[in-house]
């Protein structure tokens, strides 16, 4: 549970993961921001108006998946690193994930890396498709993973790296 150990529960996630119908229509953002905090860069960032704070800055972001095209601009801007993009239409049994990443060294496109879940446990491997560096120094990694892994994977580890 988020308040106790920092990980979202299945119910938390249920409310923000794309519906099966939305999945079929391609790339879409997943906003894992579950607390009312005074913050709104995601709403400022989205060029399509898919994220809003209708009343005030302390609300949770309100997301309209029909307006989102999965461009990933918000992924790089969110200070909570709480937004991801998932594209189930990427391949037959392969999904594309865009995740924010702030560690050095960066992986390179084509690398195979260890895919980690929300608790940092290894759940398989991911192929780095693209490394999108940004001026604000949050890098957006494009990862190809099996479709079955796409809701679980939220981080990576380069081969041979130990962190915690």
């Amino acid at each position: 549970m988020l308040a106790i150990d920092g990980t979202a529960t299945a119910e938390d996630l249920q409310a923000v993961l794309p519906t099966p119908d939305r999945r079929r229509r391609g790339a879409v953002a997943v906003i894992e921001c579950f607390q009312e905090i005074p913050c709104n860069p995601c709403a400022d960032a989205c060029p399509r108006g898919a994220i809003t704070m209708p009343e005030n800055i302390s609300q949770r972001p309100v997301f309209d998946p029909d307006k989102c095209n999965g461009c990933g601009v918000c992924v790089g801007r969110c200070p909570g690193l709480a937004i991801f993009v998932v594209d189930y239409s990427y391949g037959e049994d392969t999904a594309l994930l865009k995740i924010p990443y702030e560690f050095r060294p960066l992986p390179q496109a084509g690398d195979s890396v260890t895919a980690l879940d929300r608790q940092g446990a290894a759940v398989g491997s991911a192929r780095v498709v693209k490394v999108q560096e940004q001026k604000n120094r949050t890098t957006i990694l494009w990862l190809a993973v099996t479709a079955a892994m796409a809701t679980a994977v939220r981080n990576i580890r380069l081969s041979g790296e130990v962190r915690a």
Binding site: D5, E32, I37, P41, A45, I57, P79, N136, A164
Partner: protein
């Protein structure tokens, strides 16, 4: 003795913002900062900040510091003194300052105190071993000087500072064994907590330190669980083998100058300790002394900047400086501060502020 319109003490986000806005009103400002560079806590913050665009949300702390410093540099009315510590403020209105090795005195017409806060410590056996740091020291070593504080660290405190510094340790290539927190819930933003969780760092709420181990330096820490009454549960000890222990157990406002000035103070746990009574213009019970930022109540850089603006505008206005858009500017800043404090996580701060807000201007 030099006469000045306004002296601002402290070059953190609150003081920088106060100086800029007082100078924009036409007041002469002397800004004093005891360390060698401006920026306060901001220069150590490598993560992206929250808030809205007005408070530079999404930008990293040290980048925000640079933006504020550029604003300072553009104001001819501001004189900046670094390596300058305000030592005392006396009943005759004299402020004493040590700059480098020289002693100087001033008689400011208004004083804005923006000295920030200092870290709290924690009592446990062997808490004086080398390898045990406050979070501020860890950040200074790592983010200012590029020095690795330890190889493997246990973090104490899951407030924002604890979870953010744990993340910065990971970025610096330091292992983080765990983050422990005595309270039953994580106090920091959940998004920050999730960032370290997905790197595999456990967050153990309801845990505290029993003791540190080592002879010449830290070699390990024994941690145990707490029950609902915050007493240690026997038989729940776990030993973490670490060479670093980082304490992030809260801040308390640096209020010495306010006490000396005779400002009426109140003990408000929600704001970190003793803080001054103030009115909506951030003026204390001493009519020439204003406050802004963490010294007025431990909060956030976003709120500190807006408070600084309000205090700077109000102090300059009290000295008969005026601009055409003063009233609109002031009102907008008040609204901005209210918006920042409108969420459920600010309830504690708001509750605390009620205990030190004077109803009307003195």
């Amino acid at each position: 003795m030099k006469e000045v319109d306004i002296v601002v003490i402290g070059g953190g986000p609150a003081g920088l913002s106060a100086a800029v806005h007082a100078a924009k009103m036409g007041a002469g400002v002397l800004l004093l900062e005891r360390s060698q560079a401006l920026g306060g806590q901001l220069v150590k913050q490598t993560h992206k900040f929250f808030g809205s665009r007005q408070e530079f949300a999404g930008e990293r702390g040290f980048d925000i510091a640079h933006t504020l410093m550029e604003q300072i540099a553009q104001q001819e009315k501001i004189e900046v003194w670094t390596n300058a510590t305000a030592l005392g403020y006396y009943p005759d209105g004299v402020l004493t300052v040590k700059r480098n090795e020289n002693f100087r005195t001033f008689r400011p017409r208004k004083l804005i105190v923006a000295t920030g806060a200092s870290e709290k410590a924690l009592a446990f056996p062997n808490n004086d071993l080398p390898g045990i740091y406050g979070a501020g020291a860890v950040q200074t070593l790592m983010n200012l000087y590029g020095v690795m504080p330890a190889k493997r660290v246990l973090m104490v405190g899951a407030g924002n500072i604890g979870v953010i510094v744990a993340y910065q340790l990971l970025q610096a290539g330091v292992e983080v064994a765990a983050v422990i927190e005595a309270a039953p819930r994580i106090g920091g933003y959940w998004v920050h907590a999730s960032k370290i969780r997905r790197c595999g760092v456990p967050i153990l709420t309801g845990h505290t330190i029993r003791q540190a181990h080592g002879t010449t330096q830290l070699t390990g820490v024994t941690v145990c669980r707490l029950d609902e009454k915050w007493t240690m549960i026997p038989g729940t000890d776990t030993l973490f083998e670490v060479d670093g222990l980082c304490l992030a157990v809260g801040l308390s406002p640096l209020t010495e100058l306010l006490w000396q000035a005779g400002c009426k103070m109140n003990f408000v746990p929600e704001l970190g300790g003793y803080v001054p009574w103030r009115n909506e213009y951030l003026q204390t019970t001493h009519k020439n002394v204003y406050v802004a930022g963490d010294v007025a109540g431990v909060e956030e850089a976003s709120a500190a900047m807006v408070e600084g603006k309000l205090a700077g505008l109000a102090a300059a206005f009290a000295l008969n400086h005026q601009t055409a858009d003063f009233a609109a500017d002031y009102r907008a800043a008040k609204q901005q501060l209210n918006a920042l404090r409108s969420g459920p996580l600010s309830a504690k701060v708001c509750h605390g502020l009620c205990k030190v807000m004077l109803e009307e201007a003195m």
